[in-house]
Symmetry: C2
Subunit: 247 residues, 2 copies
DNA sequence: CGGATCTTTGACTCGTCTCAATGCGCGTGG
DNA sequence: CCACGCGCATTGAGACGAGTCAAAGATCCG
């Protein structure tokens, strides 16, 4: 069970390529014009790059920065003392993260692929939230929708079978990446999928194999997946028991 | 797997014993004094009673009211189309609920025991949040801590064994009800515990049996449980693999 | 007291995990 | 340019934890 992931806290610190380092010491918080909304946040953000599997922050770090994915894919993970891993979510372009927690990030954030993220000091965000009700509302909604996602995931982990989990995951990914009838980019490896769904890598492989055999999906290569029959997958998810099993 | 719970939406509407019905039509929102903080909310709250297993709201209801448990225990649940149930959380005296969602309650709320709850119209809460930064911050933190709880539960459902789940649940309950070295009130039945932990009722029974045999807990009667060895339970939870198995 | 509901226990099944071997793709260095 | 090694994915065989089904207690409440 779990991962025994070999990355373990390789504290290679990222290359700051934006104005992040500058921002930290600027008196220029005053540059944030209240009422300017989210825009000013984005303008204040520094840019950083992380390479595949590099750690962005660890769960015990003080939550000093808030991040936003600009490109690539980020995973949020938790570990048990004995190394079992749970990936609580995958983040894609446009997603904020690190804002959900107060004193300390409660999760590890790692780059799934090479990523580019924006970062804003927590202090700046807090100030903006205090001064601009619009920003406050925005982040409140963000938190609420993150909470809703977590609730969905609880249902999945608590009550869905392996097949339902994988089918649901693929559909939600297709939805998130709005890959209509087309091809999905699977930025994450099989182990990551397994750790997100509370399964083992072998089970994920076997389920994918079955789905392919049933012509619900195609797997042209490891990191691409085509959804051939979204309705079929949806039926799988919705606990309709399913009988069609043959190839 | 799951519950096939026989309660199914018995839409017995609750007896409103407070000023809740009045509040709905009062012009008296003006009575809320900004800066008065949470206090004014509680003063505006109506009181309601619900009997065991009575539904407080259903997941598809518009989220028109926000609630707070005054006494008793409430469960928040979700159902799959085929009847599998997941209890996302149990709420006790002092806990707010129903505020996490915007348009529609995303969960069913039901009385585990006979309960007494306060309720406040969503409209009133929203207004107070807009006018009083203190209240806004309070509910933001509430949401954040609810989110953190959900994260914990993800770890449990995704990566913990049956024994770890039950042990962890008992400890968190003991913690919540601050029953120091003493006796826990188990307001919820075995099926509820199972549906909270992603197990079956039989598995919960068997694990409790084992824990009793190992003298980690005592079970004087169905609704009471004594924690005899909190450290032992904690060891179980922390994935330390455990070897002691004999009686 | 009697029936309904919930809990406990047992015997057996089954889905998923574990362990192990093999395959594949890709980057590196000879 | 190819051989090698490394990391990941796949596949198979067998084990095991938790689920299912069934029957026998408890408990609750009228």
């Amino acid at each position: 069970m779990g991962a025994n992931f070999t990355l373990e806290r390789q504290n290679v610190r990222p290359v700051a390529v934006g104005n992040h380092a500058l921002l930290r010491d600027l008196p220029g918080d005053g540059a944030v014009r209240p009422g300017d909304g989210i825009g000013s946040l984005e303008r204040l953000a520094g840019l950083m790059h992380f390479k595949r599997n590099q750690m962005i922050f660890s769960e015990s770090d003080p939550a000093a920065q808030v991040y936003r994915v600009q490109s690539g894919c980020v995973r949020l993970t938790r570990l048990t003392p004995d190394g079992r891993r749970q990936i609580t979510s995958f983040l894609h372009a446009g997603d904020w993260f690190g804002f959900e927690w107060f004193s300390v990030y409660g999760v590890n954030a790692e780059a799934v692929s090479d990523v580019c993220v924006q970062s804003v000091p927590r202090r700046v965000l807090d100030r903006l939230i205090r001064e601009d009700a619009h920003v406050a509302g925005y982040f409140h909604e963000l938190l609420a929708s993150r909470f809703a996602q977590a609730q969905d995931q609880l249902m999945v982990l608590g009550r869905h079978t392996a097949r339902e989990r994988v089918a649901g995951f693929l559909l939600s990914l297709a939805n998130r990446l709005s890959a209509g009838g087309g091809m999905l980019e699977l930025a994450m490896g099989r182990q990551d999928i397994a750790d997100h769904l509370g399964l083992t890598i072998e089970t994920v492989c076997r389920v994918l194999h079955d789905l392919r055999k049933q012509r619900l999906v195609s797997v042209p290569d490891i990191h691409r997946l085509g959804i051939l029959n979204a309705e079929g997958l949806a039926t799988l998810v919705e606990g309709a028991a399913m009988q069609a099993e043959a190839a």
